[in-house]
Subunit: 411 residues, 2 copies
């Protein structure tokens, strides 16, 4: 029997009525001849309520207890959906993380799935069950404690199940109808993509297009799981949404697939650093140890043995970064005159696997921004992405100009 | 290290603040030198919310899914209380039913505890943990599904843990400050009892004094677990509440300890039943099979080979009883002219282990009721209880008169 994984996010299961609507979609796939593994999130708002209680009870909470409390939300949805499916005469049962089992690392609140047991659920499919409703976001540690996979973790649960059970496809039902060329709230000519390559989705996800948890895309890419992102609020359409797939399955490929942005960036510059071999390591090792996610890095041309080192990181990590640098300076590990911090910046990126075969994308991007009078502060590039740091006030203008210049509104 | 079990009901853990207050009580017992097993209910209202969603989703729900959903409420409270205790520097962790494990029968929603694993929790106590916070009301079936023990089941969880771990005492914190000689809402001279025997508590619990789940009292009696019922809303007092204990520990004993009542009773009479050996069995076997809880039974004197058979049962089981009787009649198993049903009745009982050594309690009870002009419809007696069925409109009068006549307001 072919198998499908269907994942429903919090807004898609926010009420008993919405759970009934989602169950209808599951029933349709069962009627189409599939066995189905459904992965559910907590009802919208529930996880926040639980997190609120935890933080009120213990500001510096024990992550093991946090996980035990917060994972309860998905248990409720899984049971309710199993009940709803039974009510529609579809043999179904719910599964909690420890029952499957979903074995994870012990890194509470950010655990990684290590293994998914397939025997118990496959046995039920053999006995005639058509649907396994799995509580997403959770697993069990080697110590037998409940773990969670981090915010958005149910996406990762879904992809991991699709990989473990060899599913034909993994459908992620959410409150948007697919992946867009850019944020439609900024550019109203943004166009929904029918297909997008894993690599591109990964860049978009990590650049702040919060459709899928980054980890779930990585996992899908590694195990070649066909992912589809689609809305649970639209009429049934077998070709709905956006397919995230191997680039070989994408025939027509624009040079650029999308324009992404991130508001949450800060630029930090260490002025007058002694330029010697190993200096980059001496700067970025303590930052990494302090948990600072350094993104872009630029080193100026060295003059008289001294240089300026610039990097970007999320705005809320600036304080932590400053402390780590100051500590390293006090310990004599690094030497600089001062740290200059600019939190009024934003990152704008163009992404596309087509860049590999199209020359001149960077040049075009820079000339578009220059024409609009937007100064570029930092540049980084990868094989399929070019990112620039600019003043935040120009962010929307940059996104719109680039979307237009690369003709992303055209299919 | 001496061990205490402390159980907190839903109103005692209704909010984060109340969980903090309950945690202070736990901390005090830890300071007194105890290791503590805390058993918690769901936050007040949460279980009803979950049950509501289940019934809305599937009116004839699968009890296995019901259990999975409803048991999640206790998981939340257990985690939050463990966090709160940690915040007070008390080494604590939460335990879900399957983690302990609390092994139960497969009778979902009314499961019985068969075995409690003590190794894992004892190991933690050895490692220096002071408190194990256990999610009440739940267990795990032989099939590995989550089970629940029925409404009020956390009381039973608490007593079962006290028995399994050999606790010095099991304190049940609730929203009343103990067990009273009768319902203070009916008789304002009702007096709190310092001690009450297991047998008496059992009669009171099953007669509708809803302080403790009946099953928990049975279990406490069998395993000689000292139970204390006390309020979580009053100042700390080591002698607070009511101790439910072996009768040998009760020195001064009145003939009558309390007056109980139950509004929820119906009287059914089968008119003109053929009086032959085996007729009682022929009537009550089908009723039992239909799930009717028959309480009192009276058979009239037989005349010309025919008799009237009267019994009482809960009001909401009358329809089920009528159907079972009619089916048995149609099948030729029994024969009667008609069934007369009276749903305007109530049961009033006097309870006391002192009855065993005091003669004339029944006679006194009947004369008190006669003096008030209250007609007795059915009588049953046990070694420590006399119950009468009367018109419901006289119920409060009967309770007050009996409380007064047996001088229950005096210690």
């Amino acid at each position: 029997m072919p198998l499908l994984v269907m994942k429903f996010g919090g807004t898609s299961v926010a009420t008993v009525d919405r759970i009934a609507r989602a169950s209808k979609r599951v029933a349709r796939e069962v009627a189409n001849g599939y066995d189905v593994i459904v992965v559910v999130s907590a009802m919208a708002g529930k996880t926040n309520e639980l997190v609120g209680w935890v933080e009120e009870t213990s500001p510096l909470y024990d992550a093991r207890e946090y996980d035990a409390v917060v994972a309860s939300g998905e248990i409720v949805t899984a049971g309710l959906m199993a009940l709803r499916l039974q009510e529609m005469d579809i043999p179904a049962r719910s599964w909690q993380g420890w029952q499957v089992p979903v074995k994870t690392t012990s890194a509470h609140s950010t655990a990684r799935i290590e293994e998914i047991g397939t025997d118990a659920i496959n046995q039920k499919f053999k006995e005639g069950f058509k649907v396994a409703v799995v509580a997403g976001f959770q697993g069990i540690s080697p110590e037998g404690r409940v773990t969670t996979l981090g915010r958005g973790g149910s996406d990762t649960t879904a992809v991991a199940f699709a990989a473990a059970f060899g599913a034909e496809r993994c459908d992620i039902y959410t409150d948007v109808d697919g992946v867009y060329t850019t944020d439609p709230r900024i550019e109203d000519k943004a166009r929904k993509l029918d297909k997008i390559a894993f690599e591109e989705m990964l860049e978009l996800a990590s650049l702040g297009a919060k459709v899928l948890q980054t980890r779930s895309v990585e996992l899908a890419m590694r195990y070649k799981v066909k992912l589809r992102v689609l809305s649970s609020f639209e009429e049934y359409d077998p070709n709905a949404g956006t397919l995230v797939c191997d680039e070989e399955e994408i025939v027509e490929q624009n040079a650029v697939s999308g324009v992404a942005y991130s508001r949450d960036e800060a630029k930090m510059t260490l002025i007058s650093v002694a330029d010697r071999p190993g200096i980059a390591s001496a700067i970025f090792t303590p930052l990494s140890e302090a948990g600072v996610n350094v993104d872009m890095i630029v080193q100026n041309i060295s003059e008289e043995g001294r240089t300026d080192m610039t990097f970007s990181c999320p705005t809320n990590q600036v304080k932590r970064a400053e402390e780590a640098l100051s500590k390293a300076k006090d310990a004599g590990a690094i030497n600089y005159r001062e740290v200059v911090c600019d939190t009024d910046v934003a990152k704008v990126s163009v992404v596309g696997i087509g860049m590999r075969s199209h020359a001149g994308i960077a040049a075009k991007m820079f000339s578009v921004l220059a024409r609009e009078g937007i100064n570029i502060k930092v540049i980084t590039t990868s094989e399929i992405k070019i990112s620039v740091l600019i003043d935040r006030k120009y962010m929307e203008l940059a996104v719109q100009s680039l979307h237009d210049a690369f003709e992303l509104h055209k299919a």
